[in-house]
């Protein structure tokens, strides 16, 4: 089984796009990241929800000391204003380098192995230098759940 049937087609991000547009693009198809492409359609980077959340509102020291934090925090004040500020920002400052990719013919196990090595839950699929879509751990799990496992279960029982 290769990753092609599990692939989720997504929009691609471009430089100058707003964070809000990026969030919507991810929410539409429930993916954690999309690639950033140039005018020629080549991937020049990636944008991930986690990276933007970390960069915009989670400083390193807060992450490091998260266990000691109390219930009241200064960052909980004026949340709406801060959120609207982040949403109006262009995504350019949050673009990460091009990650490792796979082709649509790659087996699912290879995709899982690469995700594990890169400590990520998604992988972009690129064929002949052109972005095709994304495969996620969630999509793979959904596929496993659709398998007919009743016979195996009966044997085990």
């Amino acid at each position: 089984m290769n990753v092609k049937p599990l692939m989720i087609s997504t929009k691609v991000a471009t430089k100058g796009m707003l964070v809000k547009q990026f969030f919507l693009a991810c929410s539409e198809v429930a993916v954690p990241a999309i690639p950033v492409c140039n005018r020629q359609g080549q991937m020049v980077g990636e944008l991930s929800l986690q990276h933007i959340i970390k960069m915009s509102c989670l400083p390193d020291y807060m992450v490091e000391l998260s266990s000691v934090l109390g219930e009241q925090l200064s960052c909980l004040q004026n949340v709406e204003a801060k959120a609207s500020q982040v949403l109006a920002n262009p995504v350019d400052a949050y673009i990460a380098p091009v990650p490792e990719v796979i082709s649509s013919n790659s087996p699912v196990m290879k995709a899982l192995a690469i995700m594990e090595r890169n400590k990520t839950s998604y992988l972009f699929i690129v064929d002949n230098g052109k972005y095709q879509g994304v495969v996620t751990v969630q999509a793979i799990v959904n596929w496993i759940l659709t398998m007919d496992t009743s016979k195996v279960c009966q044997m085990v029982n």
């Binding site: 020291y61 000391l65 266990s67 000691v68 934090l69 109390g70 219930e71 009241q72 925090l73 200064s74």
Partner: protein, 446 residues
């Protein structure tokens, strides 16, 4: 200078003196530019000293001070394991809460904690642990973190001056001269207390008296649960036990007939054993590998190369010549020489890495023994070197590694510390600390 007595066989019959001087100057110049990693430069300089025949391999190996290296590595291992239990963050948050999260009180407490930790651990580790706590507290207090980070930089360099293990220059001086932990405790610790007090007063008048925080923001700090910072209570007990044992060993090293390196390495091995005892062999290997990975090998190999490079110019008589030149300048007056060493060390350490500077000064000062009537008469010079080299690190943002670590933290949190802004206040304050140190040196030793 007569270089004929030197038993070197330099390649192409070049003059060993000039070869050593060129290698020394080029190595130091490249180290200062920071274009190439300092460990690479020092190792290359050391290797060329041997390859070109200035010193033999045997002489080079004998020049490496394994007591300094052992002490550094041992303490680095102990700190690498101890920091995992979260005790340092616990103490920092606990101390901030003890003063009711009062802004000025927090600054004083964090500075004192930084100074104490820096006296017992290395300065870089201390600020790595305290800076995140500081940024979190100042964020919640809604106060600019700059005065806090500034005070901590000073506290870390001042605290490091207090003990043998506080700062690498002290380790080098202690090892080369045979000065014990107690010698530093008796001679440098008292004046560092005075200097820290003076700096706190000045910081109060610059920033402290204007510091204000709302009741709500102080309440947020009081809600912090410092107990949660402790990630492993067993490791905490083991680490504190070994750390206490090592400090005890340092204090009674003379009676125990043990060198500081032996005590530190013994403590490191014991803590490795205690913290890994409950794990299977595979996990033990993984843990030990991880711990050794946290040792700053760049610093260790930097020292190795540096010891050989400095031995090269010592071997060819360059340092004897320089020592003679200094004595001519100071007319053989111990007081003037001591104060000159103090001030030159401070200014140099504010601008360049104090480790190569101290490595060069040690053999130079040693060669002054005959002029001043024996090695025991050199003590004021050693304390001047220790105080100057360590306190000088406060003079600029590049004066000490800890300063750059704090600046990095500040920048990542959106509060950039500019070189000139820091210099404008730090350099005059450093000069004040050296003035206090001058009075102390003169009053106590001269």
């Amino acid at each position: 200078m007569d270089s004929h007595h030197i038993s070197s066989s330099v390649i192409f019959d070049w003059n060993p003196l000039w070869v050593s001087v060129v290698l020394f100057l080029v190595s130091y110049a490249v180290i200062i530019t920071e274009k190439v990693n300092r460990a690479i430069v020092a190792l290359l300089g050391g290797a060329l000293m041997i390859t070109l025949g200035v010193v033999s391999q045997q002489q080079a190996i004998l020049a490496i001070d394994f007591n300094t290296l052992g002490l550094l590595i041992g303490m680095m291992v102990i700190v690498a394991i101890t920091r995992r239990c979260g005790v340092f963050q616990f103490v920092a948050i606990w101390s901030a809460k003890r003063v009711g999260a009062n802004p000025w009180g927090v600054l004083v407490m964090l500075s004192v904690v930084t100074a104490v930790f820096s006296a017992l651990l290395d300065n870089v580790t201390t600020v790595l642990l305290i800076a995140p706590v500081t940024l979190l507290i100042t964020q919640e207090l809604d106060i600019h973190p700059y005065p806090y980070l500034f005070a901590e930089i000073f506290a870390s360099n001042i605290g490091g001056t207090a003990t043998l293990i506080g700062d690498p220059p002290n380790m080098m001086i202690g090892s080369a001269v045979g000065l014990s932990f107690n010698d530093f405790l008796i001679n440098t610790a008292p004046i560092t207390l005075v200097i820290l007090f003076v700096i706190m007063i000045i910081i109060y008048f610059i920033w402290g008296r204007q510091m204000q925080a709302s009741v709500e923001s102080q309440a947020r700090i009081m809600q912090f649960n410092e107990q949660k910072a402790i990630t492993d209570k067993t490791l905490l007990k083991q680490s504190l036990f070994v750390l206490s044992l090592v400090i005890f060993g340092f204090i009674f090293s003379h009676a125990l007939h043990l060198e500081p390196a032996t005590i530190a390495m013994f403590g490191a091995a014991l803590l490795l054993l205690l913290s890994n005892f409950k794990f299977d062999q595979e996990k033990q290997t993984e843990n030990v590998h991880h711990t050794f990975g946290e040792v700053e090998w760049v610093t260790i190999f930097f020292f190795v190369g540096l010891f050989i490079v400095v031995h090269g110019i010592e071997h060819t008589g360059v340092l004897d010549y320089l020592a003679g030149w200094v004595i001519d300048l100071t007319q053989g007056d111990l007081s003037i020489t001591a104060l000159a060493i103090l001030w030159v060390s401070a200014i140099a350490s504010a601008l360049v890495d104090n480790i190569p500077f101290v490595a060069t000064m040690i053999p130079m000062i040693k060669s002054m023994a005959a002029t001043f009537g024996g090695e025991e008469m050199l003590l004021p010079l050693w304390w001047s070197l220790a105080l100057g080299a360590c306190l000088g690190g406060n003079g600029s943002l590049i004066g000490a590694s800890a300063n750059l670590i704090v600046a990095g933290f500040a920048e990542r949190s959106g509060h950039r510390i500019s070189f000139l802004k820091f210099l404008a206040i730090a350099f005059p304050l450093m000069i004040i600390t050296i003035m206090v140190a001058s009075v102390y040196i003169y009053w106590r030793y001269l």
